[in-house]
Symmetry: C2
Subunit: 180 residues, 2 copies
């Protein structure tokens, strides 16, 4: 019951976290490995609608998502978390609680993310209509020792997905999982 893994994808808005998490999940499910995706945007709406984007509220959001991920991982699931989670301390607190944790730094330069801007958030942040926006008007503390780093401006999605999958496979082997 404790063979699950938390795979924590952190990075700027529009860096590719949800895209990669969704593709990794599809591959794991095709291998009959029980998998869920916890998407930061979705959970803010459903679990934490009252939280804003102050440092304290962001940390609380990470704490809650981390708590959910832990409950699920303890039941054997691979839990893919796609969450900006900009502060190192909050991410490291989740790691410290987890039996098996993989941090994935989805690393694309700010100007690339801003050029993508699929939801128009960067535009709103630059024009001051959205405040405390990570990378523009709020800090992003990059991981210092992420297990995987995906430069989504330099490699295609398939390459990033494959590298995340390889890290999960290694961890599942080390965890002695019965999957696959």
């Amino acid at each position: 019951m404790s063979n699950g893994i938390i795979v924590w994808l952190t990075g700027l808005s529009a860096s590719g976290k949800s895209t990669i998490a969704t593709a990794v999940a599809a591959e794991l499910r095709s291998r009959q490995i029980p998998t869920v995706v916890l998407d930061g945007d979705v959970l803010r709406k459903t679990v934490s609608p009252e939280l804003g984007f102050s440092h304290a509220d962001r940390d609380e959001n990470v704490r809650r998502v981390g708590g959910i991920a832990q409950v699920l991982a303890e039941q054997g699931l691979v839990v893919l978390v796609a969450l900006i989670s900009p502060y190192r301390g909050a991410r490291d607190r989740v790691r410290a609680q987890a039996a098996h944790f993989i941090e994935v730094f989805i690393n694309a330069p700010l100007n690339v993310c801003e050029a993508r801007d699929p939801k128009g958030y960067y535009h709103l942040a630059r024009s001051g209509q959205v405040r405390s926006f990570t990378g523009v008007s709020d800090d992003y503390e990059a991981p210092l020792s992420a297990e995987v780093e995906c430069h989504t401006d330099l490699e295609d999605i398939e390459t990033s997905v494959r590298r995340v999958l390889q890290a999960i496979e290694r961890k599942l082997e080390a965890a002695g999982a019965q999957f696959g």
Copy 2:
């Protein structure tokens, strides 16, 4: 991706919610059906440590757990929620949001639950050391139209588990799930 089900077990403390949820989950997993248990006691510690037991806090707790359950059910999981969830309104709001929802009333009389008292909570409630305790010093609003009702004082665990499983099987068939 939307073939999951929320199975919501409501009832007094010590009525048998977690026991039945755990046994149902074990059976579903043995059938390769992706399943998770969301246990109220566990989630209060991990996700909602700041919430108390006022009506508003209880409703907020149910709302959060319901939100998590919904995210997971939308990814195809059977989500077994074991939560006192004493107020009808909060439970019905979760039901209204869910694509597939089974309410299971774990119904044992107060005096039976109090005699079990595995964690000593009833003793603490009667002696005033714990306040707002459901059934003793706080209301429990029984479901009016639960899909399953388990009289755990009159039937053994195996019988309750089988009846919950039958309700899940019917719902999975209706949902057109590919499991099993």
